[in-house]
Amino acid sequence: MTFRQFAFNNVLRNKRLYIAYFLSSMFTVMVFFTFAIFAFHPAFSGGDINRNIIFGMAVAGGIIYVFSFFFVLYSMSSFLQSRKKEFGLLIMMGASDRQIRLMVFLENILIGFCATVGGILGGLIFAKFILLIAENVLIIEESLHFYFPAMAIAVTFGSFLVLFFLISIFVSFILRTNKLTDLIKGDKKSKGEPKASVFLSIIAAILLIAGYVTAVLVKGIFVVYAMIPVILVVVIGTYLLFTQLSVFIIRLLKKNKSIFWKKTNMLLFSDLSFRMKDNARTFFLVAIISTVAFSAIGSLYGFQSILTKDVKNSTLYDVTYSPWGDDTKEVIQQDIQKINAILEEDNIEAVSETMDEEIFNISEQISSVQIVKASDYNRFAALTGKEELHPAEMEAIVVGQSEAILTEDTKVDEMMMQEEIQIRDGREIIPSSIIQSAVLDIYNPYYVVNDSIYGQLGEPVRSDVSAVWAAKDAQEEQIIEVGRKLNEQLEHKAYSIDYSIYEINKTFGPILFIGLFIGIVFFVSAGSFLYFRLFTDLDEEKRKFKAIAKIGLTQKELKKVVNRQVALLFFSPIVVALVHGAVALTALSHLFNYNLTTESALVLGSFTVIQVIYFLIVRFIYVRQVRRTIL
């Protein structure tokens, strides 16, 4: 038997080991490739999409590549770990270092090549599938058609061949540094129980807490300044959390015999601590990747809801009109007729109100404020069935900014409460209260005063006209259609709210899609990391359970141990990522001064549900595998 034949047979006999490694490599390639397909999609390279998004994509691509590298490296090293003994035996039987290195190198290049090709093929199918979903779910007008991604193929192929080549060299290096006796004891000794430093464990806790507290406490624009340092601190903290703090905690548990020596705990924790070093790196990767996924999707979803809600809350009416300042009476008259005509054209029955808007200068601070007649206000209120206002003769009611409006400083309405409005005869109108109302389509806060006193207010600095229409049971599509026409004929003067939202959704669709896609890619790859982590250790696990089964282990006990083991593996990184994500979204909501609780809960909740389902499936497969061997 030549050495080459031996190497070949070796692969065949150790199928499972190689398949696990091959699949995890292939999957990584697939994730990267699917991403590349979108990154190089013609629809995105056109001018339509904002620079920031292109930049974002490039960053995401970079992150995926770096993570791929580490992931392949880790699966490679655990793959070699389980073969140490074999190498040791080969060396003992006289194989030269060079031969073994060559063998590993060739194996790797071969596996790498097949994984790259397989990943690209898989990615093509996956991408097609995602595009199908995208077309059906999202409003994307210039549809993201499927194309032949020559560029993506080239980039993926090139990047991964380089990656596998580097890793192969790296691996040969690892082999050289191990002593023969260590190799022979190989899988038994493999990774000694990792040690944790108390100092670093404390640092981990401090870093995480500091990062969280800062992220949650900063407000407004400071969120942006704090972002990079906080991310750094939290990333380092997370790394230490898994490599040090968790090991430290497990060791504490192990020292406490009344816990460690209780029932199946010994089986559970001994393994956990034993594997923690390997797991720590996987956990870290998974936690960070998942955090990226949660935050990306959460922020995009948040943005969208901020934008649409803002627009939606800004007016209660279907169509609003406000002319330019220098438009003459005739122009305004014509415009209003035009709007009526458009509404009629589309068979929409609408009620309309018009009012003169007069702006006054009442003091130094409040140099231009609108004062509205109560009767005007009430006419508008009647259109949408809102409550009327009836200020007393010398009373003014401040109508504050509606919640939808985002400003740094919300104090204008409070300042207005402090003012007194002097009228011609020298008496003063006193503001009595602040209310919130969207009845009038006015951006800034304004006063509502009694009609009888209105005539005595003095000269307005400026005077505008505004008109609104409220449609009676019209379909949303009809209004959108009207909006489109208004946008063509009376741009910036008249618009319909539904059409604005439609426009936002349309431009936001692809962005949301990309975000969602990146998020899903990250999340899926995080899941697959965990899956392969679990199955690389399967053989050793089986051996262990077989040994214990000989002493006597009931099905229930077996299930309990496996259950907890898999659950710990699946949920510890995700729980960390969920907390990270929640903190990140809280910071985001502080940045925009907008409550994102519902959106965050929805995004994080859906990911949790997906993870639980994933866990149940994997556990089922795993338990079945283990059970099969011990029977």
């Binding site: 004891k185 038994k188 000794k189 009344s258 020596w261 209780k262 002493i551 006597g552 009931t554 029977l631």
Partner: protein, 254 residues
């Protein structure tokens, strides 16, 4: 205590292999029986069937009047854990655990108290001379030490029937003597029935009765008389009568 009737085992495979044929054997409570025979004669196979880790192809097995192979899986696991103790040819220690943890493992599964476990493990370790290595991991100890750890683990819960596959295989003659004395003591004091496979006539001479197996069949058996020395001589004679030279049997196997 233990009763085998017409027990047979065929290993299915590409070529079916008949490892045991018509074994009839009875062991009383508190009896110490050794099984000897050439390598490949089916000793481990027999032990595996008795320990319920493998099932017989034909025949019947009874431990205290019950056939454990008829038990449900969970009940069988509990049965093994409580009634039987094993010392495997390949130790079967878990390398993620320390020596002490390996020893108490069967007790932890049954939810014994920590103090009780510590005490029992301590006693066990002392009598086997492994106290200094209690906190070591299994890859840090020698083959003989591993063997003693396996013995400690098998006996910590005071099983009714102890099954041992070459418990002295890795030990020097002094250590082997210690271990055999210990097994003998347990056998006397606790009334534990003992079934031991061995290639070592010296070890076998500690038993009450030696059964010889050849080609999967019972070949013969001899009982211990009054002196161990005479018994030892009889065993040697029997082995040479069975053929092959007796060095084959004392070879160290793991």
């Amino acid at each position: 205590m233990l009763k085998l009737t017409n027990l047979g085992k065929v290993y299915e495979g590409k070529v079916a292999y008949r490892a045991l044929t018509d074994i009839n054997l009875e062991i009383d409570k508190g009896e110490f029986v050794a099984i000897m025979g050439p390598s490949g004669s089916g000793k481990t196979t027999l032990l595996n069937i008795i320990s319920t880790n493998d099932s017989p192809t034909t025949g019947n097995l009874e431990i205290e009047g019950k056939n454990p192979h008829r038990l449900k899986k969970n009940a069988l696991a509990k049965f093994r854990r409580n009634e039987l103790g094993f010392i495997f040819q390949d130790f079967n220690l878990l390398h993620t655990l320390t020596v002490e943890e390996n020893i108490v493992l069967p007790l932890t599964l049954d939810g014994a108290s920590v103090n009780e476990m510590k005490e029992k493990a301590g006693k066990m370790a002392e009598s086997l001379g492994i106290t200094p290595i209690m906190n070591k991991r299994t890859y840090e100890i020698s083959g003989g030490q591993a063997q003693r750890v396996a013995i400690a683990r098998a006996m910590i819960h005071q099983p009714k029937l102890l099954l041992a596959d070459e418990p002295t295989g890795n030990l020097d003659s002094k250590a082997a003597k210690d271990v055999m004395n210990m097994l003998g003591n347990i056998n006397k004091k606790e009334e534990t029935s003992l079934l031991m496979v061995t290639h070592d006539p010296q070890a076998a001479s500690y038993s009450d009765r030696v059964i010889f197996i050849r080609d999967g069949k019972l070949h013969s058996e001899i009982h211990r008389g009054e002196s161990r020395q005479a018994f030892f001589q009889k065993i040697i004679d029997m082995l040479s009568l069975m053929g092959g030279n007796d060095h084959d049997f004392s070879s160290v196997r793991i």
